[in-house]
């Protein structure tokens, strides 16, 4: 359907360019070359086609844009109906031909629009590419924090700090020198818990960990702390590996990460930087929910929170 939407987009582009570049030819073929009104109408319709094309070719929401084509079709059919009523002979025959073609296209547009809308409404959540049936997923991300590497390392090594900036984590509790207990919250579909152990560590430079036992989603991670060339900052390089299972849990995890799993980790590291450099995660009126601000659009309007919204706290 995405492909058909794109096909319609290219068709709009072709039609639009033709109507703008060679309006005379279009008017002759359509049998309306005798009307002064059509001289104005044809380029306008061409410009409109370019809008459809831009929408269908660039937007991921092909459904909405396919509907704009349906509306355009209705406008075209109305104009054609008026034109037919005023003509006879070869012009009328040409007009009838064009009208037939437009009716066919309308059916196609309507079909695409309805299907695209329905797919959006009831379709499965977007899945992580390659992880539909389960399998490993690797995520990397990096940021620069204007703090010495020892300090950044120490903050991360206190694993209880991770949930302050990692959106999916509810709690990480140290259970020994190198062992810890992790829980991830609702976004994973249900609460998921697992144990982890640090498998490699160099103070101020690196921490590597992996889940132990028999977790729902086996995972591992490495974070490296590298002094930046400016002499004051630290580059933080993170690699996370998830072994996503098949079945319901795998589906929930895949849905959580969405179409752009890297975005999650990028945002996590942005919050790490905020916490270390400014003291906490910054809230705005449009995006007041701190690390829970996952679904970024549409946001609430940029105006102050009501008392009941405020009472929900920073991580509502």
């Amino acid at each position: 359907m995405q492909r058909r939407g794109r096909g319609l987009g290219w068709m709009s582009l072709g039609l639009g360019v033709a109507q703008l570049a060679a309006p005379e030819a279009v008017r002759r073929i359509s049998g309306v070359d005798d009307s002064a009104t059509s001289r104005a109408v044809v380029p306008l319709v061409g410009a409109r086609e370019l809008v459809h094309a831009a929408g269908l070719l660039t937007s991921r929401r092909k459904g909405v844009w396919a509907w704009t084509r349906v509306v355009g079709d209705a406008m075209d059919l109305t104009s054609l109906g008026i034109a037919i009523a005023h003509r006879c002979g070869h012009r009328r025959r040409r007009l009838l031909g064009v009208t037939g073609a437009v009716v066919g296209i309308t059916v196609l547009d309507l079909l695409t629009a309805v299907q695209a809308t329905r797919a959006r409404a009831v379709g499965p959540g977007p899945a992580v590419r390659g992880a539909r049936g389960g399998g490993p997923m690797e995520l990397t991300a990096t940021t620069t924090v204007r703090k010495p590497s020892q300090e950044v390392y120490a903050f991360w090594r206190d694993l209880g700090n991770l949930p302050t900036f990692m959106a999916h984590l509810e709690e990480v509790r140290s259970t020994g020198g190198r062992t810890s207990h992790w829980s991830a919250s609702a976004p994973f579909g249900k609460s998921v818990e697992w144990d982890a152990e640090i498998v490699d560590e160099v103070a101020g430079e690196k921490i590597a960990w992996r889940s132990t036992g028999n977790p729902d989603v086996p995972n591992a991670g490495t974070v490296r702390f590298v002094p930046a060339p400016d002499g004051v900052s630290t580059e933080v390089h993170v690699l996370l590996t998830y072994d996503i299972p098949g079945g319901a849990v795998g589906k929930a995890v895949a849905k959580y990460f969405g179409e752009e799993p890297h975005q999650q980790l990028d945002d996590d590291l942005r919050r790490l930087k905020q916490v270390l450099e400014t003291g906490e995660v910054l809230r705005s009126e449009g995006a007041p929910w701190g690390k829970r601000a996952r679904k970024e659009f549409p946001q609430r309007p940029a105006q102050p929170l009501s008392d009941s919204e405020l009472a929900k706290g920073a991580d509502a």
């Binding site: 945002d267 942005r270 400014t278 809230r283 705005s284 659009f297 309007p301």
Partner: protein
Amino acid sequence: MRANTWAGRNKVKVRDVPDPKILNKRDAIVKITSTAICGSDLHLVDGYVPTMQNGDIMGHEFMGEVIEVGSGVPADKLRVGDRVVVPFPIACGACGACAAELYSCCENSNPNAGIAEKMFGHPVAGIFGYSHLTGGFAGGQAQYARVPFADVGPLKIESDLTDEQVLFLSDILPTGFMGADLCDIQSTDVVAVWGAGPVGQFAMDSARVLGAAKVIAIDKEPYRLQMAERAGHTTINFDEVDVRSRLLEMTGGRGPDKCIDAVGMEATHGAAHVHAYDRVKQAVRLETERPHALRQAILSCRSGGIVSVIGAYGGFLDKFPAGAWMNRALTLRTGQCHVQRYMKPLLQRIERGEIDPTRVITHTLPLDEAERGFDIFKNKQDHCEKVVLKP
């Protein structure tokens, strides 16, 4: 409280909204005494900046009295009762960009950095009342505003200067000044400024203060050109003469040494067909800008000169004269203003009487008449140059 909000393309509406509250420890709440409508607000209202939402409080030029501070604001930085001007970019003061005084590129002040990054390659700072792309912060065309990082941004006014004398330190005066500052002005320089709106006027005054030999204002509104003339600048009306040839005449064929684009994405062009070409492309979103001023500045500037861009751009433009730029060794410099960098020195210039910011104010209206204010400012009615709103 009452606040002026975005209500869809070409529509603003003053409505009742909740009072602002402290959301972060380093916040302050400011009771606003004066606020203003900026030319860049028009880009939002005209619908050329994406991610606006119905109900967003507008406005990024405001000042007032601190009535509440968060627990993370040190008392030696800001206290309840302080009179402050608030800079429009929100900046943390601690990241790499802030350390380099690039406050409008602050790496921590935009909760929607992910979106901004997709649009611009790297994120930009949060800005009050300026779309969700710049953070979704409520703006200052209101009775009260929440100010994040209040220990970094707000400038305390401890003298008895009037609101009108210091309000524009929030944006347009530093923005105009930065336009001139980026030009590395020498005493031999002829500086041409495209756009005689409020930012353009302050860019002209700043160029003179920084020692330019001659300052030329380019616009088409006679009343705006007269305002520049009254301030002692030379003028060109692009509706009446060809700008490039007039500039060549005025500079012995060299072209201006430094050029400032104080127009941005919604320029109008003297030639109807060129304007129509860009207007259509902008309307169907094939380019987001109408960059005539920038094109003309690049083509007019003398070889080896500097073109400084402070007019706002948001997306993509075409027919960029890259050949002129490259072959004639031009330097292009730009940025949203790093207001925090310029506030203090400019306050001193105001105190010394070197710059008079009040000269651009033509209208003062109650906040409840914001709608009318936008209307006359946008349509340049009643010789409107700058509207100040009183909550």
